[in-house]
Subunit: 239 residues, 2 copies
DNA sequence: CGCATTCTTGACCATCTTCAATTAAAGTGG
DNA sequence: CCACTTTAATTGAAGATGGTCAAGAATGCG
């Protein structure tokens, strides 16, 4: 057991799968009762404070996790410090990159979060033994690929205003999955993180937020809590 | 057999797998002799002119293909016409989006190309029956995901000069895989396509190319043929 | 050879960034 | 609980990067 691995495992608590939110998620939903029990024996729940790193860019991946609660951001940083968030993951998503020793990005808790951590070796073995699980993870990978490409369109071709509106729309639809006319939600990201997701600066994000507020598209109850009276309007602005 | 499907199949020629470039590629490399023969019976080789669409955004996906020769670009377009290239694929890559009826992007030949086309139903069945194949496609999906996220960093956080240098570097390393000091290659993309890949305009791409030329980083033999005397220099500029 | 398309170049302009100052919010310790 | 510090967010002014518009050069094709 290597350092990063044991570090994680010593700070968690035993796992109870039966009442788990991710019981029917990407990983656990594809396992037999027997496998679930085995995975459970080697897994631990762990609380992660907002901002804490789950896996570092360039680090060896000795474990995978399921998100139980909270939001996780996937980041890439350049040697000179420029940073780009390349994905957001929500419960009960799987976090990890199978088939590769070294992580090409870092995963960080954006909000306080809870994750269920399990050793890489064990899951890799189960993937090899369980076509159902392989298929399930393949499916999540393809969905993430679709999302990444959708975001490439946002990064490359949308204006600052459209970018901010797109992000608010993305988060709103994740927070309130029911297709309501209006939405109210907490932003899981700071202005700086939003900027890193949109390829903008903090100042531009802030200015676009106040522009949307002045136009009546959003209400900023406080910097983290947003109300969208008319989701269609927001979607129209995202283009 | 639906329209798009038959359209494709009527314009191809029978397949000979034994001497095929993709014989050990993502799809065919994972098949048994028996399966390969069956897939071969239902596949056809097809020539695709540069610019021709292989699959349209929003269209029903009734077939998949392997790239035998040439470069394929994956595009997303917005209702107002803004366009973003979200991926490049080279031989012997697999083109298609398993598990989903409708394509969220279009695939277009960037250069004259040759593809090997096979019906979706058949490959879907083989995927379900062949863990090896599932694994192989899963692996390609994860590699494309890595590439997409790497490109998100380029789109979001690099300057125009760095973007152009990054693209030249990407294409150079694909054209001349041996890690040489210098490289010479044909661009598979027009200036307009480069702009759509980098989230820039044609003019900015052109200006950055001449800047790189004046600095001696590249030699533009003609607008499509580029020589890079010092790849390290180019990589340094891509940041 | 002539027309059409692609690429390059220039001048001007808009958007977004940078730098700087101010306000608001969130911790901290007495 | 409240001053005090620290951090996050907003706002303003000036500047730079990249976009737009327009003209000209190069290339390719019938």
């Amino acid at each position: 057991m290597d350092v990063a691995h044991s570090e994680v495992f010593h700070t968690g608590t035993p796992v109870a799968c039966s009442s788990c939110q991710a019981r029917h998620g990407v990983v656990c939903g594809a396992l037999s009762d027997h496998q679930l029990k085995e995975l459970g024996r080697h897994s631990l729940r762990r609380k992660v404070d907002a901002g804490a790193e789950i896996i570092a860019q360039g680090a060896e991946t000795s474990f995978y996790s399921n998100i139980m609660r909270g939001v996780v951001k996937l980041c890439k940083v350049m040697p000179d410090g420029r940073q780009q968030i390349v994905g957001l993951q929500f419960a009960p998503d799987f976090v990890g990159r199978p088939f590769v020793r070294e992580s090409t990005l870092s995963a960080e808790a954006a909000t306080d979060a809870e994750i269920c951590v399990f050793p890489r070796n064990l899951l890799d073995r189960m993937i090899a033994e369980t076509p159902e699980l392989q298929r399930s993870l393949h499916d999540q990978a393809l969905k993430e690929l679709d999302a990444a490409r959708e975001w490439m369109l946002t990064l490359g071709r949308r204006t600052a205003e459209e970018k901010v509106a797109s992000l608010l729309h993305l988060i709103a639809t994740h927070a309130e999955p029911q297709t309501a006319i209006s939405a109210a939600f907490d932003l899981p990201l700071s202005r700086a993180e939003i900027a890193d997701f949109l390829g903008l600066t903090i100042e531009t994000v802030s200015r676009q937020m106040t522009r949307l507020r002045k136009r009546g598209v959003i209400v900023i109850e406080n910097s983290r809590h947003i109300v969208v009276p008319d989701m269609d309007e927001l979607e129209k602005i995202s283009a």
